[in-house]
């Protein structure tokens, strides 16, 4: 069985992002990057499936973007991915639609049984690529997975986190599954593993070789720093709080 895990390079969630003063995007100069947390969870799940089911399972990490993406792909190799594949393209214009187009082309080439990917990337927060991919391939989908179990033959039982509660579905392979936060706790790549991964090859395919043209459907015109922050009145005690909520804010 082959599992494809798309891994997106995103700004670290530990640091605040700042918008470039001209509104063209975020200020990348000082940012550190990481594998999108949801993709790291997807990769961890794929590795656990391989650990349970044995070496017949192959895990392929896929990055779509510039050579900078290789650092996250090396982290994926260090975590345990068998192969790393980078689709070389201009990632500044990618939207969920074009990501799904590229992934569909990779799926046709690699013929995986399962695409396991994050439910959203924490930069654009779109939450679309997996579903679009499933639609393009006409494959079953199970989004927002918090538990994945294999059933015989070639089926998955997936617990999905929805607004209404935990929904369980069964889907046939091949399929697309997108991961939610509680699926697992991703392992860290050890330093020796990271050192070793530096020497491992990263297969690179150009977008042209893959035969897809990037035609994004979402164009970001402008980015602004969202205004947060309020003048906080520090109250002395509960009585003052209730009084102010009642007579000043008039919310209770």
């Amino acid at each position: 069985m082959k599992i494809l895990v798309p891994t997106k390079r995103v700004p670290s969630t530990d640091e605040p992002v700042r918008v470039h003063p001209d509104g063209s995007g975020i200020d990348n100069a000082t940012l550190t990057h990481m594998i999108n947390p949801f993709d790291a969870i997807a990769l961890e799940e794929a590795l656990r499936i391989r650990e349970r089911q044995g070496p017949g399972v192959g895990v392929v990490a896929v990055g779509i973007g510039s050579v900078a993406f290789e650092s996250e792909l090396r982290t994926a190799l260090a975590m345990g991915a068998d192969r790393a594949l980078r689709i070389d393209c201009d990632d500044s214009v990618l939207d969920p639609w074009s990501v799904a187009q590229v992934l569909a082309a990779i799926v046709r080439r690699e013929k995986p049984d399962l695409v396991l990917m994050g439910k959203q990337a924490v930069d654009d927060d779109s939450n679309q690529a997996g579903q679009i991919l499933a639609g393009l391939l006409d494959w079953p989908q199970a989004t927002f997975a918090s538990k994945i179990q294999f059933l015989e033959p070639a089926r998955l039982q997936v617990a999905r986190e929805t607004d209404r509660g935990l929904e369980t579905v069964v889907i046939r392979l091949p399929a697309v599954v997108t991961t939610d936060l509680r699926l697992n706790e991703p392992r860290y790549a050890s330093l020796p593993a990271l050192m070793k991964a530096r020497k491992r090859p990263i297969e690179t395919v150009s977008q042209r070789e893959l035969g897809v043209s990037l035609e994004p459907k979402v164009r970001i015109m402008r980015l602004e720093q969202a205004a947060v922050g309020r003048e906080c009145v520090r109250v002395a005690d509960v009585a003052e709080l209730v009084r102010r909520l009642r007579y000043e804010a008039k919310v209770i």
Binding site: Q128, G135, E161, L241
Partner: protein, 320 residues
Amino acid sequence: MVILVVAEYDTAHVRPGSRSALGVARDLAARSGERVEWLVLGSGLDSVASDAARFAPVTVADHPLLVQATADRYARVIADVARAHEASVILANATTFAKDILPRAAALLGAAMAGDVTGYSFADGELLLRRPMYAGATTATVTLAGRPYIITVRASAFPPAEPLAKSGECVAWNVVAATLPNQIEYVGLESRPTMRPDLTEARVVVSVGRAFRSSEEFEQYVGRLADALKGAAGCTRALVDDGITPNEWQVGQTGKVVAPELYVALGISGAIQHLAGMKNSRIVVAVNSDAEAPIFSIANYGLVGDVRQITPALIEELNR
């Protein structure tokens, strides 16, 4: 050409969040001269459809095979109706229902999609959509290429549409069973029953973070305070991770987005991922033992102290 709004409903009523999406649809239609129409999918929809019709004409896709909202079938029917009615825009509230299904419909239609939209404007006749990115730290203005547009809106950013003077018509969509995919088998739903209002629809939300360590404590403090305020109870991811509260109570970037009149944050540090789900609340109250906690920077009222002492005192004061 129509603007199609995919409705969500509970037992017999269209959800207020879907009515917010309908309000946006009406406004867009007022500019373009198009028609607005609900699309309701499910099984046994008579009462839901007549409730929906109070707000707009309804296309009703009613079939036993649509009893559960599985993405394969729903996306197919939505795409079929959108083609037949020449939809220029498909709108819905940004819930997990819409997030699961609509991008798949976008794939079938070759449509352009923007999610979690919180505002819009027009420039040279082009629709500019505003949506949060980076856990709400930034707001992007985006344009879409490729009709139809598929847009999910944050209900908290738009008021629910009011009923029409005269109900719209309900027209049945002919669901052809043989054309429906059969890729996703629904097994069941597990949710923790609660008598409290829905998080996203409540006037008051009482939310709590890592300060409490068990479901019993949660009920004793947060539950009782929520009840005293007739509000809903929410939480941070920390409590869901620890199994203290169910996932559907989580507020934030990856949970629900709320904007109540009053949001009470008890023992919540104020991580950006949590703020993403509540920072547009009208009044925010923060109680935290750490006077430097970031949550105070987005609170209107702050009280420094131990939530184990303050919460019971607050309940008592409210009930006086």
